[in-house]
Homo-oligomer: 135 residues x 2
């Protein structure tokens, strides 16, 4: 039984799964929903995951306030041992997948704090560093 | 000419592009690199984007410290008018794509602060709210 579902507009969810498979070989531990790529009703896939998931389980959604997240929130309302994380990136999914600690809200918040979107400053190239030094 | 590149392990990058196309119809404004899905050398795609991009440009990478991000940092070293954002999610790419303000480090940091990964508390279901009220 799965304990991780990624649900997104388009192929973002299955794309993340392919990244995770390349990096960890653990792609098979993740269920995905690529919504709006055809006319099928993906809400049935959400409810099926929630009914069958090993708990505690996590549903990752693409965008807070987006329609996929809204349908997940409706399907998950009132459930226990089920966590919803939105605005997802690869880092938070890897963190949850690889972390051996029991899932809890507080622990997920710690993992989220370590997985945030980040701007990275460019370093000067070797040549430019030399130029700065010599000028 | 493009000003946005998404580079990832696996199909995460093209998956994000498909989400963006569904949500905004602006997928064609985004270049993608799905690295390690075959044996091709994706570093040439990075250098080609940097050489040809409309500036200021942004390269979005999947994972800080990951090999895709490392190759982007090497190719981008010393460049000006080029920003690198890692640990990306759908929200930050949409924010950059849709924001009319000129790109700058400070403005990107504002957009990043509004786009972070977030745990969402589940609401009680309607039935359970009633039960709580009546009990």
């Amino acid at each position: 039984m799965q304990r991780i579902l990624i649900a997104s507009h388009g192929h973002f969810a299955s794309g993340l799964k392919s990244s995770i498979e390349i990096l960890t070989g653990m792609g098979e531990q993740i269920s995905t929903i690529d919504a709006y790529v055809d006319d099928s009703d993906y809400t049935t896939q959400i409810t099926a995951f929630i009914a069958q998931a090993e708990t505690p389980a996590v549903i990752f959604t693409d965008l807070k306030g987006g329609s996929v997240n809204q349908k997940v929130m409706l399907a998950a309302a009132g459930k226990t041992d089920l966590y919803i994380i939105s605005q997802i990136n690869l880092a938070i999914i890897l963190a949850v997948l690889l972390d051996p600690a029991p899932l809890s809200a507080a622990h997920l918040d710690e993992l989220i704090a370590q997985s945030q979107v980040e701007r990275i400053e460019l370093t000067a190239s070797a040549d430019e560093s030399d130029a700065d030094f010599l000028s």
